[in-house]
Protein backbone atom coordinates (compact mmCIF):
# COMPACT_ATOMS: atom_id res chain seq x y z
CA UNK A 1 0.00 0.00 0.00
CA UNK A 2 1.32 3.46 -0.84
CA UNK A 3 -0.52 5.38 1.89
CA UNK A 4 1.42 3.85 4.80
CA UNK A 5 3.07 6.49 6.95
CA UNK A 6 4.78 4.20 9.47
CA UNK A 7 5.42 0.46 9.39
CA UNK A 8 6.02 -1.24 12.74
CA UNK A 9 7.54 -4.71 12.46
CA UNK A 10 8.12 -7.28 15.22
CA UNK A 11 8.75 -4.77 17.98
CA UNK A 12 9.94 -6.03 21.36
CA UNK A 13 10.64 -3.77 24.30
CA UNK A 14 12.19 -4.84 27.59
CA UNK A 15 12.87 -2.61 30.58
CA UNK A 16 15.41 -3.16 33.34
CA UNK A 17 18.63 -5.06 32.74
CA UNK A 18 22.06 -4.57 34.34
CA UNK A 19 21.39 -5.31 37.99
CA UNK A 20 17.63 -4.72 37.72
CA UNK A 21 14.94 -7.29 37.00
CA UNK A 22 14.20 -7.40 33.31
CA UNK A 23 10.60 -7.34 32.21
CA UNK A 24 9.04 -7.57 28.80
CA UNK A 25 6.62 -4.73 27.98
CA UNK A 26 5.95 -5.33 24.28
CA UNK A 27 6.13 -8.65 22.48
CA UNK A 28 6.22 -9.04 18.74
CA UNK A 29 4.08 -6.03 17.86
CA UNK A 30 3.48 -5.33 14.15
CA UNK A 31 1.04 -2.92 12.52
CA UNK A 32 0.93 0.00 10.09
CA UNK A 33 -0.09 3.61 10.51
CA UNK A 34 -1.90 5.00 7.49
CA UNK A 35 -1.61 8.63 6.37
CA UNK A 36 -4.26 10.98 7.74
CA UNK A 37 -6.00 8.31 9.79
CA UNK A 38 -7.07 8.56 13.41
CA UNK A 39 -5.62 5.49 15.11
CA UNK A 40 -6.33 4.58 18.73
CA UNK A 41 -4.17 2.14 20.73
CA UNK A 42 -6.46 0.56 23.32
CA UNK A 43 -5.65 -1.83 26.13
CA UNK A 44 -5.39 -2.35 29.89
CA UNK A 45 -2.97 -0.35 32.05
CA UNK A 46 0.65 -1.41 31.73
CA UNK A 47 0.25 -3.16 28.38
CA UNK A 48 2.83 -0.90 26.69
CA UNK A 49 0.55 1.49 24.75
CA UNK A 50 2.43 4.58 25.92
CA UNK A 51 5.71 2.80 25.28
CA UNK A 52 4.71 2.38 21.62
CA UNK A 53 4.09 6.14 21.35
CA UNK A 54 7.53 6.79 22.83
CA UNK A 55 9.13 4.39 20.36
CA UNK A 56 7.27 5.95 17.42
CA UNK A 57 8.22 9.49 18.47
CA UNK A 58 11.84 8.39 19.04
CA UNK A 59 11.78 9.27 22.72
CA UNK A 60 12.90 5.67 23.31
CA UNK A 61 14.35 2.81 21.27
CA UNK A 62 12.91 -0.70 20.80
CA UNK A 63 14.87 -3.67 22.18
CA UNK A 64 14.42 -5.29 18.79
CA UNK A 65 12.27 -4.89 15.68
CA UNK A 66 11.96 -2.19 13.09
CA UNK A 67 10.03 1.08 12.74
CA UNK A 68 10.07 2.51 9.20
CA UNK A 69 8.76 5.95 8.27
CA UNK A 70 7.60 6.84 4.78
CA UNK A 71 10.56 8.07 2.72
CA UNK A 72 9.37 11.68 2.35
CA UNK A 73 8.21 12.11 5.93
CA UNK A 74 10.13 14.67 7.96
CA UNK A 75 10.37 13.77 11.63
CA UNK A 76 10.24 17.46 12.50
CA UNK A 77 6.57 17.27 11.56
CA UNK A 78 5.73 15.19 14.65
CA UNK A 79 4.32 16.47 17.91
CA UNK A 80 3.20 15.02 21.22
CA UNK A 81 0.41 15.68 23.71
CA UNK A 82 1.08 14.27 27.18
CA UNK A 83 -1.32 12.78 29.72
CA UNK A 84 -0.73 15.51 32.31
CA UNK A 85 -0.37 18.17 29.60
CA UNK A 86 3.36 18.70 30.48
CA UNK A 87 2.83 22.43 30.31
CA UNK A 88 5.85 24.12 31.91
CA UNK A 89 4.81 25.98 35.08
CA UNK A 90 7.62 28.53 34.83
CA UNK A 91 6.50 29.76 31.41
CA UNK A 92 3.38 31.73 30.55
CA UNK A 93 0.67 30.19 28.37
CA UNK A 94 2.00 32.14 25.37
CA UNK A 95 5.59 31.01 25.97
CA UNK A 96 4.48 27.39 26.35
CA UNK A 97 2.74 27.47 22.97
CA UNK A 98 5.70 29.29 21.40
CA UNK A 99 8.26 26.72 22.57
CA UNK A 100 7.90 24.23 19.69
CA UNK A 101 8.15 27.10 17.17
CA UNK A 102 11.41 28.19 18.81
CA UNK A 103 12.59 24.60 18.41
CA UNK A 104 11.68 24.77 14.72
CA UNK A 105 13.70 28.04 14.38
CA UNK A 106 10.67 30.03 13.24
CA UNK A 107 11.51 33.80 13.12
CA UNK A 108 10.24 35.83 16.09
CA UNK A 109 7.72 37.93 14.16
CA UNK A 110 6.16 34.87 12.54
CA UNK A 111 6.12 33.10 15.91
CA UNK A 112 4.07 35.93 17.42
CA UNK A 113 1.47 35.66 14.66
CA UNK A 114 1.26 31.86 14.83
CA UNK A 115 0.96 31.82 18.63
CA UNK A 116 -1.79 34.43 18.50
CA UNK A 117 -3.71 32.43 15.90
CA UNK A 118 -3.32 29.16 17.77
CA UNK A 119 -4.39 30.65 21.10
CA UNK A 120 -7.47 32.04 19.36
CA UNK A 121 -8.18 28.64 17.83
CA UNK A 122 -8.23 27.08 21.30
CA UNK A 123 -10.04 29.97 23.01
CA UNK A 124 -6.94 30.83 25.03
CA UNK A 125 -6.21 34.35 23.73
CA UNK A 126 -7.23 35.93 27.08
CA UNK A 127 -4.72 33.79 28.94
CA UNK A 128 -1.58 34.53 26.92
CA UNK A 129 0.21 36.09 29.93
CA UNK A 130 -1.22 33.72 32.53
CA UNK A 131 0.80 31.04 34.26
CA UNK A 132 -0.44 27.41 33.99
CA UNK A 133 -1.09 27.22 37.76
CA UNK A 134 -3.89 29.75 37.27
CA UNK A 135 -5.72 27.51 34.79
CA UNK A 136 -8.04 24.55 35.27
CA UNK A 137 -7.04 21.06 34.12
CA UNK A 138 -9.07 21.42 30.92
CA UNK A 139 -7.45 24.73 30.03
CA UNK A 140 -4.00 23.30 30.73
CA UNK A 141 -4.72 20.44 28.34
CA UNK A 142 -5.89 23.00 25.76
CA UNK A 143 -2.48 24.67 26.13
CA UNK A 144 -0.87 21.25 25.59
CA UNK A 145 -2.96 20.74 22.44
CA UNK A 146 -2.23 24.27 21.18
CA UNK A 147 1.51 23.64 21.67
CA UNK A 148 1.21 20.42 19.66
CA UNK A 149 -0.81 21.93 16.79
CA UNK A 150 0.98 25.29 16.45
CA UNK A 151 3.74 23.89 14.26
CA UNK A 152 1.22 22.39 11.80
CA UNK A 153 2.34 18.80 12.48
CA UNK A 154 1.57 15.99 10.07
CA UNK A 155 1.75 13.34 12.81
CA UNK A 156 0.45 13.83 16.33
CA UNK A 157 0.86 11.43 19.24
CA UNK A 158 -1.54 11.75 22.15
CA UNK A 159 -0.92 9.84 25.37
CA UNK A 160 -4.28 9.49 27.17
CA UNK A 161 -4.82 13.25 26.89
CA UNK A 162 -8.31 13.29 28.41
CA UNK A 163 -7.95 10.67 31.14
CA UNK A 164 -7.46 13.20 33.94
CA UNK A 165 -10.32 15.50 32.91
CA UNK A 166 -13.97 15.50 33.94
CA UNK A 167 -16.35 13.93 31.40
CA UNK A 168 -17.76 17.26 30.16
CA UNK A 169 -14.36 18.82 29.50
CA UNK A 170 -13.12 15.58 27.95
CA UNK A 171 -16.15 15.49 25.64
CA UNK A 172 -15.58 19.11 24.57
CA UNK A 173 -11.89 18.50 23.90
CA UNK A 174 -12.59 15.33 21.90
CA UNK A 175 -14.85 17.36 19.58
CA UNK A 176 -12.13 19.98 19.32
CA UNK A 177 -9.53 17.35 18.51
CA UNK A 178 -11.64 15.85 15.71
CA UNK A 179 -12.17 19.31 14.21
CA UNK A 180 -8.44 20.10 14.25
CA UNK A 181 -7.46 16.68 12.91
CA UNK A 182 -9.69 17.26 9.88
CA UNK A 183 -8.57 20.85 9.46
CA UNK A 184 -4.85 20.01 9.48
CA UNK A 185 -5.09 16.74 7.46
CA UNK A 186 -2.78 15.22 10.03
CA UNK A 187 -2.34 11.64 11.21
CA UNK A 188 -3.28 11.06 14.83
CA UNK A 189 -2.09 8.18 17.01
CA UNK A 190 -3.77 8.24 20.40
CA UNK A 191 -3.47 6.01 23.45
CA UNK A 192 -6.61 5.34 25.46
CA UNK A 193 -8.07 2.83 27.89
CA UNK A 194 -11.59 4.13 27.33
CA UNK A 195 -13.57 1.97 24.86
CA UNK A 196 -16.25 4.63 24.18
CA UNK A 197 -13.59 7.28 23.53
CA UNK A 198 -11.82 4.95 21.10
CA UNK A 199 -15.03 4.21 19.15
CA UNK A 200 -16.03 7.87 19.10
CA UNK A 201 -12.71 9.04 17.66
CA UNK A 202 -10.90 6.29 15.78
CA UNK A 203 -10.80 5.14 12.17
CA UNK A 204 -9.01 2.03 13.44
CA UNK A 205 -8.55 0.63 16.93
CA UNK A 206 -5.54 -1.52 17.81
CA UNK A 207 -6.48 -3.66 20.84
CA UNK A 208 -3.65 -4.85 23.08
CA UNK A 209 -3.38 -7.71 25.55
CA UNK A 210 -2.14 -7.28 29.14
CA UNK A 211 1.63 -7.10 29.66
CA UNK A 212 3.63 -8.05 27.69
CA UNK A 213 1.52 -6.13 25.18
CA UNK A 214 0.59 -8.07 22.07
CA UNK A 215 -1.97 -7.16 19.45
CA UNK A 216 -5.26 -8.97 20.06
CA UNK A 217 -7.01 -7.42 17.06
CA UNK A 218 -7.25 -4.38 14.80
CA UNK A 219 -10.80 -3.10 14.39
CA UNK A 220 -11.81 -0.91 11.50
CA UNK A 221 -14.36 1.69 12.55
CA UNK A 222 -16.44 2.95 9.64
CA UNK A 223 -19.32 4.39 11.65
CA UNK A 224 -20.33 7.79 10.23
CA UNK A 225 -19.26 10.90 12.20
CA UNK A 226 -20.55 12.36 14.48
CA UNK A 227 -20.93 8.97 16.12
CA UNK A 228 -23.94 8.21 18.21
CA UNK A 229 -22.97 6.38 21.40
CA UNK A 230 -26.60 5.15 21.78
CA UNK A 231 -26.71 3.51 18.34
CA UNK A 232 -26.81 -0.26 17.82
CA UNK A 233 -23.61 -0.16 15.73
CA UNK A 234 -21.79 1.63 18.55
CA UNK A 235 -22.92 -1.04 21.07
CA UNK A 236 -21.92 -3.82 18.64
CA UNK A 237 -18.46 -2.41 18.36
CA UNK A 238 -18.23 -2.07 22.15
CA UNK A 239 -19.10 -5.78 22.43
CA UNK A 240 -16.50 -6.70 19.82
CA UNK A 241 -13.79 -4.82 21.73
CA UNK A 242 -14.93 -6.11 25.12
CA UNK A 243 -14.70 -9.67 23.79
CA UNK A 244 -11.06 -9.04 22.84
CA UNK A 245 -10.37 -7.45 26.25
CA UNK A 246 -11.91 -10.32 28.29
CA UNK A 247 -9.38 -11.58 30.87
CA UNK A 248 -9.11 -15.01 29.23
CA UNK A 249 -8.37 -13.33 25.90
CA UNK A 250 -5.89 -10.91 27.44
CA UNK A 251 -3.65 -13.66 28.81
Amino acid sequence: MTNKLITIENIYKNFGGKGKSNFETLKDVSFNIIKEEFLVLLGPSGCGKSTILRLLSELDQPSSGKITYEKDFSKEKMSFVFQQSAVFPWLTVGQNVELDLIGDKVPKEKRKILVKEELKEFGLEKFVKYRPRDLSGGLKQRVGLARAFVTGPKLIFLDEPFSELDIFTAEELRRELLRLWKKHDSTVVMVSHNIDEAIELADRIVVFSARPGQIKGIIKNELPRPRNPRSKEFFDMQDEIRALLKPENLE
Binding site: R54, S57, L59, E76, M78, S79, F80, F82, Q83, Q84, A86, F88, P89, W90, L91, T92, Q95, L99, D100, I102, G103, D104, G123, F127, K129, Y130, R131, P132, R133, D134, L135, S136, G138, L139, R147
Partner: protein, 245 residues
Protein backbone atom coordinates in the same frame (compact mmCIF):
# COMPACT_ATOMS: atom_id res chain seq x y z
CA UNK B 1 -14.28 26.97 30.48
CA UNK B 2 -13.22 27.31 34.10
CA UNK B 3 -10.49 29.55 35.45
CA UNK B 4 -9.32 28.89 38.96
CA UNK B 5 -7.70 32.29 39.64
CA UNK B 6 -7.68 35.35 37.49
CA UNK B 7 -4.08 36.41 38.00
CA UNK B 8 -2.05 37.47 34.96
CA UNK B 9 1.62 36.79 35.47
CA UNK B 10 3.92 39.77 35.89
CA UNK B 11 7.63 39.11 36.41
CA UNK B 12 8.26 42.28 38.45
CA UNK B 13 5.20 42.15 40.66
CA UNK B 14 6.20 43.25 44.19
CA UNK B 15 4.39 43.87 47.43
CA UNK B 16 3.91 47.60 47.85
CA UNK B 17 2.26 47.82 51.25
CA UNK B 18 3.10 50.03 54.22
CA UNK B 19 3.95 46.92 56.24
CA UNK B 20 6.37 45.85 53.53
CA UNK B 21 8.11 49.25 53.55
CA UNK B 22 8.39 49.28 57.35
CA UNK B 23 9.83 45.76 57.23
CA UNK B 24 12.34 46.82 54.60
CA UNK B 25 13.41 49.85 56.66
CA UNK B 26 13.93 47.66 59.74
CA UNK B 27 15.99 45.23 57.67
CA UNK B 28 18.26 48.06 56.51
CA UNK B 29 18.48 50.16 59.69
CA UNK B 30 18.80 47.55 62.44
CA UNK B 31 22.20 46.24 61.24
CA UNK B 32 23.38 49.83 60.80
CA UNK B 33 22.39 50.64 64.39
CA UNK B 34 24.24 47.59 65.67
CA UNK B 35 27.32 48.53 63.67
CA UNK B 36 27.27 52.11 64.97
CA UNK B 37 26.91 50.84 68.54
CA UNK B 38 29.73 48.37 68.04
CA UNK B 39 31.95 51.08 66.57
CA UNK B 40 31.22 53.32 69.59
CA UNK B 41 31.75 50.67 72.29
CA UNK B 42 34.83 49.14 70.67
CA UNK B 43 36.26 52.60 69.89
CA UNK B 44 36.83 51.81 66.25
CA UNK B 45 36.41 54.40 63.55
CA UNK B 46 33.42 53.81 61.29
CA UNK B 47 35.49 53.80 58.05
CA UNK B 48 37.76 51.13 59.52
CA UNK B 49 34.76 49.06 60.64
CA UNK B 50 33.10 49.30 57.25
CA UNK B 51 36.37 48.54 55.47
CA UNK B 52 36.81 45.31 57.45
CA UNK B 53 33.16 44.36 57.10
CA UNK B 54 33.29 45.18 53.38
CA UNK B 55 36.37 43.01 52.87
CA UNK B 56 34.71 40.05 54.61
CA UNK B 57 31.49 40.52 52.64
CA UNK B 58 33.52 40.76 49.44
CA UNK B 59 35.28 37.47 50.22
CA UNK B 60 31.96 35.86 51.03
CA UNK B 61 30.32 37.27 47.88
CA UNK B 62 33.17 36.14 45.64
CA UNK B 63 33.17 32.65 47.18
CA UNK B 64 29.40 32.51 46.76
CA UNK B 65 29.53 33.46 43.06
CA UNK B 66 32.35 30.97 42.34
CA UNK B 67 30.42 28.24 44.21
CA UNK B 68 27.19 28.95 42.32
CA UNK B 69 28.86 28.87 38.90
CA UNK B 70 31.05 25.86 39.66
CA UNK B 71 28.30 23.96 41.53
CA UNK B 72 25.81 24.52 38.72
CA UNK B 73 28.26 23.41 36.02
CA UNK B 74 29.29 20.30 37.97
CA UNK B 75 25.66 19.36 38.68
CA UNK B 76 24.55 19.79 35.06
CA UNK B 77 27.54 17.89 33.72
CA UNK B 78 27.44 15.00 36.19
CA UNK B 79 23.80 14.46 37.09
CA UNK B 80 23.18 11.43 34.89
CA UNK B 81 24.78 8.67 32.87
CA UNK B 82 28.14 7.03 33.40
CA UNK B 83 29.75 10.38 34.30
CA UNK B 84 27.29 10.65 37.18
CA UNK B 85 27.85 7.07 38.31
CA UNK B 86 31.55 7.83 38.73
CA UNK B 87 31.40 11.42 39.97
CA UNK B 88 28.57 11.34 42.51
CA UNK B 89 30.29 8.98 45.01
CA UNK B 90 33.45 11.09 44.67
CA UNK B 91 31.48 14.29 45.45
CA UNK B 92 29.91 12.54 48.42
CA UNK B 93 33.32 11.71 49.87
CA UNK B 94 34.72 15.17 49.13
CA UNK B 95 31.85 16.97 50.85
CA UNK B 96 32.55 15.02 54.05
CA UNK B 97 36.23 15.96 54.01
CA UNK B 98 37.22 18.10 57.05
CA UNK B 99 38.41 21.15 55.12
CA UNK B 100 39.69 23.08 58.16
CA UNK B 101 42.18 20.28 58.84
CA UNK B 102 44.20 21.27 55.79
CA UNK B 103 43.83 25.02 56.29
CA UNK B 104 47.17 25.44 58.17
CA UNK B 105 48.97 23.53 55.36
CA UNK B 106 47.36 25.76 52.76
CA UNK B 107 48.46 28.86 54.71
CA UNK B 108 51.98 27.44 54.96
CA UNK B 109 52.23 26.97 51.19
CA UNK B 110 50.04 29.80 49.87
CA UNK B 111 50.59 32.46 52.55
CA UNK B 112 48.09 34.57 54.56
CA UNK B 113 46.08 35.95 51.69
CA UNK B 114 42.43 36.68 51.07
CA UNK B 115 42.53 34.19 48.20
CA UNK B 116 43.10 31.34 50.66
CA UNK B 117 40.05 32.50 52.63
CA UNK B 118 37.94 32.61 49.45
CA UNK B 119 39.21 29.19 48.38
CA UNK B 120 38.23 27.64 51.71
CA UNK B 121 34.89 29.41 51.72
CA UNK B 122 34.18 27.95 48.27
CA UNK B 123 34.92 24.48 49.65
CA UNK B 124 32.40 25.10 52.45
CA UNK B 125 29.65 26.65 50.30
CA UNK B 126 29.74 24.59 47.12
CA UNK B 127 28.48 21.20 48.40
CA UNK B 128 24.93 22.15 49.41
CA UNK B 129 24.59 24.05 46.13
CA UNK B 130 25.85 21.12 44.07
CA UNK B 131 23.66 18.53 45.85
CA UNK B 132 20.53 20.72 45.80
CA UNK B 133 20.87 21.28 42.05
CA UNK B 134 21.53 17.58 41.53
CA UNK B 135 18.35 16.82 43.44
CA UNK B 136 16.37 19.35 41.30
CA UNK B 137 17.69 17.75 38.13
CA UNK B 138 16.93 14.21 39.25
CA UNK B 139 13.38 15.16 40.21
CA UNK B 140 12.38 16.70 36.86
CA UNK B 141 9.13 15.15 35.69
CA UNK B 142 9.69 12.65 32.88
CA UNK B 143 7.04 14.25 30.66
CA UNK B 144 8.79 17.63 31.00
CA UNK B 145 12.02 16.07 29.74
CA UNK B 146 10.13 14.43 26.88
CA UNK B 147 8.21 17.63 26.03
CA UNK B 148 11.52 19.48 25.74
CA UNK B 149 12.94 16.76 23.49
CA UNK B 150 9.84 16.87 21.28
CA UNK B 151 10.00 20.68 21.07
CA UNK B 152 13.49 20.41 19.58
CA UNK B 153 14.88 23.45 21.45
CA UNK B 154 18.65 23.44 21.84
CA UNK B 155 21.66 25.55 22.84
CA UNK B 156 20.88 28.85 24.56
CA UNK B 157 17.12 28.32 24.15
CA UNK B 158 17.44 25.03 26.05
CA UNK B 159 19.32 26.85 28.82
CA UNK B 160 16.93 29.78 28.94
CA UNK B 161 13.61 27.96 28.71
CA UNK B 162 14.42 24.73 30.51
CA UNK B 163 17.72 24.11 32.28
CA UNK B 164 17.98 27.39 34.19
CA UNK B 165 14.34 27.41 35.38
CA UNK B 166 14.42 23.78 36.59
CA UNK B 167 17.69 24.24 38.47
CA UNK B 168 16.90 27.63 40.03
CA UNK B 169 14.96 26.42 43.10
CA UNK B 170 17.74 23.94 43.95
CA UNK B 171 20.35 26.60 43.38
CA UNK B 172 18.64 29.07 45.71
CA UNK B 173 17.97 26.50 48.44
CA UNK B 174 21.53 25.20 48.18
CA UNK B 175 22.97 28.72 48.29
CA UNK B 176 21.02 29.56 51.45
CA UNK B 177 22.34 26.41 53.17
CA UNK B 178 25.84 26.96 51.72
CA UNK B 179 25.96 30.54 52.94
CA UNK B 180 25.00 29.32 56.41
CA UNK B 181 28.11 27.12 56.35
CA UNK B 182 30.08 29.98 54.83
CA UNK B 183 29.21 32.59 57.48
CA UNK B 184 30.11 30.06 60.14
CA UNK B 185 33.52 29.46 58.57
CA UNK B 186 34.27 33.03 57.49
CA UNK B 187 35.46 34.37 60.85
CA UNK B 188 37.27 31.15 61.81
CA UNK B 189 39.05 30.97 58.45
CA UNK B 190 40.11 34.61 58.63
CA UNK B 191 41.47 34.08 62.16
CA UNK B 192 43.43 30.94 61.16
CA UNK B 193 44.72 32.50 57.94
CA UNK B 194 45.69 35.69 59.83
CA UNK B 195 44.45 38.10 57.21
CA UNK B 196 45.31 41.75 57.83
CA UNK B 197 41.74 42.90 57.13
CA UNK B 198 38.37 41.30 57.75
CA UNK B 199 36.02 40.46 60.59
CA UNK B 200 38.23 37.60 61.77
CA UNK B 201 40.96 40.13 62.48
CA UNK B 202 38.46 42.18 64.55
CA UNK B 203 37.19 39.29 66.63
CA UNK B 204 40.74 38.16 67.20
CA UNK B 205 41.75 41.61 68.44
CA UNK B 206 38.79 41.77 70.89
CA UNK B 207 39.00 38.17 72.11
CA UNK B 208 39.87 39.33 75.66
CA UNK B 209 36.79 41.60 75.86
CA UNK B 210 33.62 39.45 75.98
CA UNK B 211 31.18 42.42 75.94
CA UNK B 212 32.63 43.86 72.73
CA UNK B 213 32.86 40.38 71.19
CA UNK B 214 29.21 39.72 72.03
CA UNK B 215 28.14 43.04 70.54
CA UNK B 216 30.23 42.30 67.46
CA UNK B 217 28.55 38.91 67.08
CA UNK B 218 25.10 40.54 67.40
CA UNK B 219 26.01 43.15 64.75
CA UNK B 220 27.31 40.37 62.51
CA UNK B 221 24.10 38.36 62.99
CA UNK B 222 22.01 41.45 62.18
CA UNK B 223 23.91 41.88 58.90
CA UNK B 224 23.40 38.20 57.99
CA UNK B 225 19.72 38.38 58.93
CA UNK B 226 19.26 41.47 56.74
CA UNK B 227 20.94 39.83 53.75
CA UNK B 228 18.82 36.69 54.13
CA UNK B 229 15.60 38.59 54.66
CA UNK B 230 16.12 41.06 51.83
CA UNK B 231 17.72 38.80 49.19
CA UNK B 232 17.57 35.06 49.76
CA UNK B 233 14.17 34.49 51.31
CA UNK B 234 12.30 36.56 48.63
CA UNK B 235 14.31 34.69 45.97
CA UNK B 236 13.34 31.35 47.53
CA UNK B 237 9.65 32.33 47.56
CA UNK B 238 9.87 33.62 43.98
CA UNK B 239 11.48 30.41 42.72
CA UNK B 240 8.94 28.18 44.44
CA UNK B 241 6.05 30.28 43.11
CA UNK B 242 7.50 29.97 39.64
CA UNK B 243 7.53 26.17 39.84
CA UNK B 244 4.06 25.88 41.35
CA UNK B 245 1.78 23.82 39.10
Amino acid sequence: MRIIHQRPYHPFATKRTTGHLIGLSIIIFVPLLFLLLFSYVAKISLPSLFENLGISLFRMGTACIISIVLGWLLAVFFYKGKRGDIALPVFDILQSFPISAILPIAVFYLGSSGIVVIMFLVLEIIWPILFSILSSLKLIRRDFIEAVKVSGISGLDYLHFFLIPVTTPGLITGTIIGLGNGWESLVATEIIVHTRLGLGNFFNAFSSNPQVTLLGILAFLAVIFSINKSIWLPLLEWSHNKMEE
